[in-house]
Amino acid sequence: MGFHFSSLARIIQLLFGKKHARIGIYGAPNVGKTTLANRIAMDLAGEVVGTVSDVPHETRRAKTKKNLKIENGTSSLTIDIVDTPGIATKVDYMEFVRNYGIDEEEARRRAKEATEGVIEAIRWLDNVDGVLLVMDSTEDPFTQVNVTILGNLEARNLPVIIAANKIDMETSSPATIKSAFPQHPVVPISALTGHNMQALYSKMIEHFGKRKKRRWIK
């Protein structure tokens, strides 16, 4: 029986780390997931992933951008990014009507799609190698959504980097996120302006390029 090159590549990967990883971009609605996905895709491929909006649940289906190569001196990592819909515990169509002037029929449709989007985002957890968890650094980070996602990733042994987003805002406090979740790497960024993205890319190569020790949970 011959020894296949793919087997050798697999052994090398197991021994020395990953070169290709599928990274899910997760977080609550309106924390800047799609802005970050667009920033990464623009920086690395000159393309955007999805539409950004102030209305929550703008991204209601997961969107993928493949084969984005991050380079940092001698190290590199090729990633597929999955921009997932925001995870929430409630979706109220009336909020779209009241707060954003969307007509009732459209608001109901949007709310239904948003609930499906949350389910899809959760399902994607089974198919990613690592997670960029986006938090709004102008808000209290200690929400049930953040705590639940992090707890779940820890149980699955999936590597996670917290992107403390919106540091271009005056009221941002990435230090609060760092002190809330000291066990995870936190990189302060502005996906909107691109500030500190290089630090995020370096952390992604370091953290997501590690050997895979995934634990499957039911």
Binding site: T148, I149, A155
Partner: protein
């Protein structure tokens, strides 16, 4: 008797009698009836993810818009627990229908919530 909002304090013993799936179904069923539950022992993170998933499946936009859930994080795992891949024990948690229950403030020691009947029509 005048109709009010029911708050059930659910013991750890009651929750331990149920399987993980039964626990999630029980919570969803009670919350959809308009009850607020205070669980002596909360849910693990994987159970909370399943609860969110099932909540999304049950939302009908007129009578049930989802849940409000607040609780303290799972206890830190000891070195031995980490070696054997055991999860930390979940702690006290309050869960209710999102149109009734709202979290006002939380810190490491106190979770403050209010029950606001008719909040959705405000």
């Amino acid at each position: 008797m005048k109709e009010g909002i029911t708050v059930d304090l659910v013991s750890k013993d009651k929750l331990d009698e149920l399987s993980s799936e039964e626990r999630i179904n029980y919570i969803i069923d009670e919350v959809r009836k308009g009850k607020i539950l205070v669980l002596e022992r909360g849910l693990t993170s994987s159970e909370r993810v399943k609860l969110i998933q099932q909540t999304m499946e049950k939302i009908d936009h007129d009578t049930f818009i989802g849940i409000e859930i607040e609780g303290y994080p799972e206890e830190k795992r000891s070195f031995i627990h980490r070696i054997f891949g055991m999860v930390g024990k979940p702690r006290i948690t309050v869960i209710g229908p999102a149109h009734l229950l709202k979290t006002i403030r939380r810190d490491d020691r106190v979770i403050e919530t209010v029950i606001v009947p008719g909040r959705r029509d405000a």
